[in-house]
Amino acid sequence: MDFADSGTDLAFRREVGDWLDKALADVPDQEELSQDEREHWSRVWQDRLCAGGWAGLSWPTAHGGRGMDSLAQAIFNEEAAVRGAPYPLNGVGMMLAGPTIIAHGTDEQQARHLPGILRGETYWCQGFSEPGSGSDLASLRTAATRVDGGWRVNGAKIWTSNAHNASKCLLLARTDPDAPKHRGITYFLAPMDAFTVRSLEMINGDTEFNEMFLDDVFVPDSDVLGGVGNGWNVALTTLAFERGSMALNLWVWARQAVDRVVDLAVARGMADDGAFLDTVGALHCDAEAVRIGSMRMLGESRAGGVPGPETSALKSLWAQVVQNANRLAVQLDEAGGVLLDGDGAAARMRRYLRARAHTIEGGTEEVQKSILAERVLNLPRSR
């Protein structure tokens, strides 16, 4: 077991680092910005990634990518995260839509959809979740009914990041209401012109998520991905790419959350307290476990496996360590963190409140534990 970069990896990491240092030179500290300004920089950053040829880093060369492997992508993500780079505004396009279309799309679909992602012209969002189907994704009720030349879709989606910037949607809809719930679903590459998008304000004031309302939205047959009724299988591919894309950048957030609370305690003269040191010791363990576990997950999947259910342990650990570190930062803050005009207090509270979502988004804490119980411990289903 070897955790070191190979010579090639190291050279690539340096190449990435050099590029990032230059590309990020004029990018301000995102933490200090408003939501609008962050979104502006996300767009700028997406354009720079596309221009720099990083958008299709791990896509096959046949599809215009650079044909590198998941480790290269992970190295890129890690180096970007370490430097506090903005989120690319079309992460869904690069990391989910592109790879899923490459895996399941027809030649025509690939030719039609992929170049726009690489060139930064088409932004995508992911229309999976619905108001009534949170953890129970397959219970989705958005309905697509057959019409001439395609489908007419009615329903609502929720928790859609970037829907207000996107023009295309990875859309799951029920095309056969009589089939078992995993069978009657179809996966669409839907144009969003007729979607109604409403932004959701989060408890920390950000509006990164949206609701989408579909009222007799027409989607042509040519935008069915992977066959009618096969949507659940295609969705599993997307979800696997989503898990994979977590590798080697989630841990950066965990480390930064721990470093921030340590810095705060040092600044406030509280870092030599026994209780604080014990807590930091525990946070260090969990944050490092996320980092190392991510490397092992990536290693396993490069060795031909797929990210296993242990991913759920990483997600769970990650959410906890970030939540705990961010809560502690608020507690250590002057005035218990509740005076938001204090130095850095608003950002600390924003991070604490944002982190409450970590045990909900991307599979709730309860779902992660169920997966561990059922698939790692071989216990019977408990839901």
């Binding site: 070191a4 363990c285 092992r296 169920s370 411990l377 071989n378």
Partner: protein, 348 residues
């Protein structure tokens, strides 16, 4: 980066797991009689003695992780073998600056060593000065070993016990003693030896955690209450999911720390503390959960869960307590931030 076990490591794990599974002498036996060497004891000491030994110390290029994989497998079954203590002693003598190889009789298992590290009244390997600098406590298998690898403030040395007093261990399958050693003739710098040895203990703890989880999961799959197997209740299942998460974290930390020590990484120190702390916590937690999942039977001597708890407690206490390692990790993390650049902005 190839953060996967090598085929050799998988084979070591499988081989030792098979040995452990077939072993007839169990930790339980020591509850009612004196410690007896398990059948696999000699084989382990003889055939696995070069695992993890650096070339400078007389090894053949085996990585520390090779050894940890073997020790973890023994921990899963609570095999009451001297091998982990001997291997830790060997590692303790394998610091970076070791001038000459270890004696063949040690590497071949002909001369069985154990570790004398913990100081009476202390919590860790550097936090207390023993009133008598030649006394060590929590020494495993002292009466069953031929010599001691001793850690002192100035380094490590090999010694025979000038005297020892058997103590009453909560885990009788790991007999513990207080040992008085002769003053060293020559002391070698400990270098990374103490870190290497601590990871052997951490690996056994990870094994104990895994064994406790396996036993608990088996109980949860078979015991029925309220018309269902109890593992189908999230109240039961989620406890075990948490234990599995803690154990995975501890094992990952242990493996990484071993790599960091083996490759001389600057963060090796804090990672060893993190591994030992996390492994002790995971093992005690898993054993406590194992008892709980067994319900009434779990608190009886005749069921096995308490055996895991006993081993976990002893290993957590040895080689610097888990609580001391956690505190040290915290101190080092805080120290590393002094003067460090501010955390770069991330969007979340």
């Amino acid at each position: 980066m190839r953060a996967t076990f090598t085929p050799e490591q998988r084979e070591i794990g499988d081989t030792v797991a098979a040995l452990a599974a077939g072993e007839k002498v169990r930790a339980r036996d020591a509850l009612t009689g004196p410690w007896r060497a398990p059948a696999c004891d000699g084989l382990l000491l003889g055939d696995f003695g070069l695992l993890g030994v650096p070339e400078a110390a007389g090894g053949v290029g085996s990585h520390l992780i090779d050894l940890l994989v073997a020790v973890e497998a023994l921990g899963e079954r609570l095999v009451p073998s001297r091998f982990p203590a001997h291997a830790a002693a060997v590692q303790l003598l394998c610091g970076d600056d070791r001038p000459d190889p270890l004696p063949d009789e040690v590497l071949s298992g002909g001369r069985v060593l154990t570790c004398a590290v913990d100081v009476p009244g202390g919590s860790g390997w550097a936090d207390a000065v023993s009133p008598d600098p030649l006394v060590r406590t929590l020494v495993p298998y002292a009466a069953q070993a031929d010599g001691l690898a001793v850690l002192g403030p100035d380094g490590v040395w090999t010694a025979e016990a000038a005297g020892f007093a058997a103590r009453d261990s909560v885990d009788p399958s790991v007999p513990l003693s207080d040992v008085t050693v002769a003053a060293p003739g020559r002391v070698s710098p400990a270098g990374a030896g103490v870190r290497r040895a601590a990871l052997v203990v951490a690996a056994e703890l990870c094994g104990v955690a895994q064994g406790a989880i396996d036993l608990a999961a088996e109980q949860a799959r078979t015991r029925r209450q309220f018309g269902r197997v109890i593992g189908s209740f999230q109240g039961v299942a989620f406890q075990l999911a948490e234990a599995a998460t803690a154990r995975k974290a501890a094992w990952d930390l242990t493996l990484y720390a071993a790599w960091a020590v083996d490759t001389g990484r600057p963060d090796a120190g804090i990672q060893v503390h993190a591994a030992k702390a996390a492994a002790g916590r995971a093992a005690v937690f898993a054993a406590e959960r194992c008892i709980q999942v067994h319900g009434g039977m779990g608190i009886t001597m005749e069921a096995d869960p308490h055996l895991f708890l006993r081993r976990a407690l002893v290993l957590d206490a040895r080689f610097g307590r888990g609580s001391w390692h956690r505190r040290r990790a915290g101190e080092l993390r805080v120290g590393a931030r002094a003067g460090a650049p501010p955390v770069p902005a991330a969007a979340a």
